[in-house]
């Protein structure tokens, strides 16, 4: 049984076809790499899965229900999304990590936050760090922590390691691998062929808004 199924999805924006007739079954526990040239529709595909945009045609079935039957908020709470350029808001790191708790009207779980910070090799003192003083790698790690605080069923990652150095990339890769082992389904866009083969069980190649191939590795 698929966790998320995309059925003949087409997405048109400003009379331009961005995604064309995409069908895909994503199973629970999958680690799927999405590769393809710039402008092939990879990021739009993830935005669609995150329900930040709706398909012009076709349907998305998540846990046996069409996306229209879900409240967009419930959908997004269940499917995490990390952008290519991490956007941290407010002044401090804690504001960002408290936000997912704030919108659920619950107190921040300090032990969970501390555990995730240490998983990403960040000290607890980072909580009071000013966002403007963080490096690109630190921002990306905080954005990732923010996305996984409530263990989403599916995690969408848009080139999250593309701007990171080797050390930071390794830290992020290890955490993502661990999350997948815990049962979180991963869809990540990467330009690194080695990275995609190392961790994924499926590789999707996109071109001109279409899925050109789906390779099952293991």
């Amino acid at each position: 049984m698929s966790l998320l199924s995309l059925e003949n999805i087409t997405y048109i924006n400003d009379n331009k076809i961005i995604l064309k007739d995409i069908s895909l079954n994503i199973n629970s526990g999958d680690f799927i790499s999405i590769v393809g040239a710039s402008g092939s529709g990879k990021s739009t595909f993830l935005k669609l899965c995150a329900h930040l945009i709706s398909p012009t045609e076709g349907n998305m079935i998540y846990r046996n229900k069409s996306y229209v039957e879900y409240s967009p908020i419930d959908w997004r709470k269940s499917i995490g999304y990390c952008f290519q350029n991490p956007c941290l808001f407010g002044d401090t790191v804690i504001e960002n990590l408290n936000f997912p708790y704030l919108i659920r009207n619950i107190m921040m779980d300090s032990s969970r936050v501390t555990k995730l910070l240490s998983l990403f090799k960040l000290k607890k003192s980072y909580l009071n760090e000013k966002v403007k003083n963080l490096s690109g790698g630190e921002k990306q790690r905080i954005a990732l922590i923010r996305s996984i605080l409530f263990k989403p069923k599916i995690l969408l990652l848009d080139e999250v390691t593309s701007a990171l150095d080797v050390d930071n990339t390794l830290i992020v890769e290890n955490v993502i691998k661990a999350l997948n082992r815990e049962g979180i389904t991963i869809l990540w866009i990467t330009h690194n062929p080695e990275q995609s083969k190392k961790y994924s069980n499926k590789i999707i190649v996109m071109e001109n808004g279409q899925i050109m191939s789906l390779e099952v590795l293991k």
Binding site: S54, P72, F89, I103
Partner: protein, 253 residues
């Protein structure tokens, strides 16, 4: 000029020589603004004479219904102008009308029920004019700020939505910034009252012969009412307007 006495026609004619001063500089500096100045002066005189006689007539009518109608007309015009700053937004005119009407009504009601002013045209129309025009400027600023913030902070809003936030928590910073932008000019002018400028109404009262001590009482009330109306209408307009930036599936348009 003696206290509140009428200005004679001959004094008015002498004062018109001041126009010659600006014409002289324009001609001397070859600014080619002579025609503009002459047309501007003629229009100002004609418009003010018409408004003067019209207000004289209106103030004579002691009908609350007519006063209310006139206030509504002023609110509609102000809303129309403010909505121009909110091009492309759904219900821009309606949002402007509701927020200005509510802001003005609440403030005027407080002033009337507290006995500070009477619901008579000669008091309501000038005070309403001040309130409504101030609200119009505030709303224009709110809309402008909101439109540009939703463009500049698109990623931030998308990030918050992707974390599972509803549209209000995703936009709250933009809403607050927009309200602040709408209120700032009024707050700034409040801070500098009497130091940088003597406001028009207070100056008018002093020129008309009212003692400065009495004039400041009016000015203080005007300041309070402008602050209150600006806050109310900026708040209502921004909270009504932000929804226009999202579709039914809570996606940023």
């Amino acid at each position: 000029m003696n206290g509140g006495a009428d200005i004679s026609i001959s004094s008015m004619l002498v004062s018109s020589l001041l126009v010659m001063v600006s014409l002289f500089f324009t001609y001397f500096q070859k600014l080619n603004l002579e025609k503009e100045i002459i047309i501007g002066v003629i229009r100002a005189v004609v418009q003010l004479v018409v408004v003067g006689y019209l207000l004289n007539y209106i103030f004579g009518l002691k009908s609350p219904i007519f006063t209310t109608f006139l206030l509504s007309f002023m609110i509609f015009n102000a809303s129309y102008n403010a909505a121009k700053r909110n091009k492309g937004a759904k219900n821009g005119l309606l949002i402007s009308f509701i927020s200005i009407a509510l802001g003005a009504s609440i403030t005027i009601s407080i002033l009337v029920f507290s006995g500070i002013i009477k619901y008579e045209a000669y008091q309501i129309i000038p005070i309403g004019g001040m309130i409504i025009s101030n609200s119009m400027v505030a709303l224009g600023l709110c809309f402008k700020q909101m439109n540009s913030a939703f463009k500049d902070k698109r990623e931030e809003v998308q990030t918050k939505l992707s974390l599972g936030a509803d549209i209000l928590p995703s936009s709250i910073d933009i809403i607050r910034d927009s309200i602040k932008t709408g209120m700032m000019p009024t707050i700034d002018s409040t801070k500098t009252l009497g130091i940088v400028s003597l406001p028009g109404m207070m100056t008018g009262l002093i020129l008309a012969g009212t003692s400065p001590v009495s004039a400041i009482k009016y000015q203080i009330i005007v300041t309070f009412m402008l602050l209150s109306t600006t806050a109310i209408c900026s708040f209502i307009a921004c909270y009504m307007c932000y929804r226009n930036f999202f579709n039914k599936r809570k996606q940023l348009i």
